[in-house]
Symmetry: C2
Subunit: 503 residues, 2 copies
């Protein structure tokens, strides 16, 4: 796939601008029908898409089939979200001549699509965070046309996916150009600067994400940029938790690090375990049994090799499983899992060498002495993360655990108890995001139905005649969307009628 030329880019941006009002004006049924058609088409093309993905990414067939299914189901979920209509956040304040602040006019507010979205695809989920992934699905569901900047790690798959998805969308009535594809780093940056682009999304490295966020912020008209960047996802095991299910923890940890060759933004990069945990031998056996896996593309492999070399060469790092790392004749990297162990004191001393994310099948076990120190230690060492996890015993509730939960809550988007962060459910309550550098914008999520909110902005209509109101705001509510009404003379919020008396 050759880089998009400036002339092609101009045509693509112009088409997105033309499509934006047409796609935004679709009814819930039209938009949802197109999304379902896209989901079905992805599943129908499974054989072709998975074969190309295996070649280009080195990921296993089982993983890719699962990921494609998840991706298609995710598109369908967003069709449900569109039909449901809660995402419009319709608020209606009826006119109120008795309002506390003088006459209140009739005000009706909902959320509209922001306009064309530029989505930078990730390498590590060639379906779920790529051309037809969550960013694309949520933006399309919001009513925004999408331009995907293909990841260079899977160019043919990107073209195939775009063709399958856009053909299905258009056959189901979406305007031509609702989903478009571009290629090339400089084309992506140029388009991010284009005034016709209304928002950007990204999943990838801290350095690339930061430089794109800076471009978005420096535009003459800045736009929101939703980047999901780096995370080391610390996991904390209490002494009682370890005593209760050491085996289960070792199994889960190994699977979470080894699966997909550790190339997941939610991979547990640090496992805090009580000194004397006794997990080392079992983990070494599990790691040694893991098949060699190809890393996604040479750039990832080189970066992983460098991080791994640095970690292995650090003083007082104990090797649990050294693993292997080699490059084949085509320059592709292949690896087996590497597990190391340090004391909390060493991690503190060697933080400059050990703390950065190692994107690949490597994790660091950290042996601690006192559970009471964990929250303070985490606070000293870590910035923002996507997740943080506590493994405690059933019913265990100590000040140390509460302090840890408090610290994770303040520094991550998802707090897990007894599970592993590498499974990210696509549901209404999922939060996939977190304070910098986990994301560039921690008030949003890139997974789950709430992800649609990134591509909407509110508009209010004051004193509008019914016939000129958008349909979701009308009293006859032809689409039957949820409407939250403030009734004259009642409380100015919705749920409770509680108010406090003045003194």
């Amino acid at each position: 796939m050759s880089d998009t030329t400036p002339e092609q880019l101009e045509r693509i941006a112009a088409r997105a601008a033309t499509v934006a009002p047409i796609w935004a004006a679709t009814t819930p049924l039209e938009r949802a029908t197109a999304l379902v058609a896209m989901a079905d088409a992805l599943l129908d093309a499974r054989t072709e898409l998975v074969a190309t993905a295996m070649e280009e990414t080195g990921l296993t067939e089982a993983r890719l089939v699962g990921e494609l299914t998840r991706t298609a189901v995710q598109v369908r979920l967003f069709a449900d979200v569109v039909l449901d209509g809660t995402y419009l956040d319709v608020r209606i304040d009826e006119a109120d001549s008795e309002f506390a602040l003088g006459v209140r006019p009739d005000l009706r507010r909902f959320r509209i699509p922001v306009g064309p979205v530029l989505n930078f695809a990730a390498s590590n989920f060639p379906f779920a965070f790529s051309v037809a992934g969550g960013d694309t699905a949520s933006a399309l569901a919001a009513g925004c046309p999408v331009i995907v900047k293909a990841h260079s790690g899977h160019p043919r798959l990107s073209e195939q996916t775009a063709r399958v998805a856009s053909t299905a969308l258009e056959a189901a009535g979406a305007p031509e150009g609702t989903l478009q594809l571009i290629s090339g780093r400089s084309a992506g940056v140029a388009l991010l600067k284009d005034p016709r682009i209304a928002a950007g999304s990204f999943t990838g490295s801290i350095s690339a994400g930061r430089s794109l966020a800076d471009v978005a912020a420096a535009r003459s008209g800045p736009i929101p940029f939703y980047g999901e960047l780096g995370s080391v996802n610390p996991v904390f095991v209490t002494r009682a938790g370890l005593a209760e299910r050491a085996q289960e923890i070792a199994d889960g940890f190994a699977m979470s690090v080894i699966g997909s060759a550790g190339q997941l933004c939610t991979k547990p990069g640090f496992l805090f375990v009580p000194a004397g945990h006794g997990l080392g031998d079992g983990l070494a056996v599990r790691a040694a049994a893991a098949a060699e896996q190809r890393l996604l593309y040479p750039g990832i492999a080189t970066a992983y090799r460098d991080r791994r070399d640095t970690i292995l060469a650090t003083t007082d790092v104990k090797v649990i499983a050294e693993g292997r790392m080699r490059f084949d004749a085509e320059g592709q990297g292949w690896a087996t899992p590497t597990l190391v162990s340090v004391t909390a004191a060493v991690l503190r001393q060697q933080r400059d060498r050990l703390l950065d994310e190692a994107f690949g099948p490597l994790s660091v076990m950290v042996e601690f002495e006192r559970e009471e120190d964990l929250a303070g230690l985490a606070n000293e060492l870590f910035e923002g993360n996507l997740t943080g996890t506590v493994h405690a015993a059933a019913g265990e509730d100590t000040p140390a655990i509460r302090a840890l939960v408090g610290w994770i809550t303040g520094h991550a988007g998802r707090v897990l108890f007894g599970g592993w962060p590498t499974g990210v459910a696509v549901t209404p309550a999922m939060q996939h995001g977190g304070p910098w550098p986990a994301t560039t914008n921690d008030t949003s999520t890139s997974v789950g139905t709430a992800a649609i909110g990134r591509f909407l902005r509110p508009v209010a209509y004051q004193g509008a005649p019914q016939e000129l109101l958008p349909l979701p705001l009308r009293d006859d509510n032809p689409w039957q969307v949820p409407q939250r009404r403030s009734i004259p003379g009642q409380s100015n919020s919705w749920g409770s009628q509680a108010t406090l008396a003045s003194h």
Copy 2:
């Protein structure tokens, strides 16, 4: 009020960081009680506060009394929002072993306060957008401590307001330092760069807002910055609307431009009227009858004089009411209203001289020939705005009006029908924001109960035992907040059960 020193700034930032978890942990009743106490204290101090405000801003007593009342009621509304709990956006997905994407864990998500907020106060609303204004009230309600950077236009009032508000908050149980004040431009910039600050808000000029937004975006850990900047708020009058109520339109327009000496971000800067409208003489009389008003502070007055000079010196600008502009011995500017008129063709030709916001009692009437051209003309001339208004006849519904409503919807946060944008109701459905340069972030509002969302971020808990969950997420729901539940086996959104069959 002298500028805050670096040593003071350090103490203030440290205190805000200390207070943040304490204020965040308050119960709804504790937080709402403190807010109500603050609202009451502001009203109790009315005499002192209004007197100082009159001296420092030149605004009238009636205007300031009204604004202080509005400000206190706004604080109370946010107490209601806290008690109501809808703002927490609680979402609960029960565990579901039959979920479309495999086993779904128990996931519970709500919104938590982001941490200390730095609020840059505005000059033109010394109560409503200053120390105890909407940004402060919404951030406190969200559970964030607030540091206000006082506006140099009303330093004594800022100190008095901060003292009244913080004394009341603390007497009602809020920790010391929940609301703090700083002074000086460089202190504000330095604090915006401080890693302990989690979000910024601002109301003011495009240049100042842009430079602060750039500072927030360039931090080593970027933070959200909610700036409300410039807007010219075009108003469009149809021929039938004019025929129906010319008098009412002239009255409303004059009042909207003259009130508060036109120093409002929602002042109608351009009034589009059909050629031959016949409003000129009546408007000249209304403008001539307006009392001279002092502008807020010398910087505003100088900028206004320059904009007015430029507009009056522009070729083919017809003067409806020239008004006066003078400076007194203390350097304060005084003005009476200036109204000018141009044809649409002249506005197009002289856009470089005429289109920028004139912050003060000046507005430009634009005479047009064909209603059908208005949407295209607006699209050619204007960027983002806070508001856009249509004055049509009762029941009038034409393609030209629909095109205008469509254009306003795409370029503003609020669309008005037959009213004037200068009244901004504080209600659940209000939207005060709009595409750049109206704001730096058009996905949020700075007025209305939804403003609280700027200072919250979502966190999800996965597989948590009930006793370790935050109270709003627990099944026994001790605070009785609204919880939206996804029930296993049902649709993955809330309202409708509609789903589309696959092909």
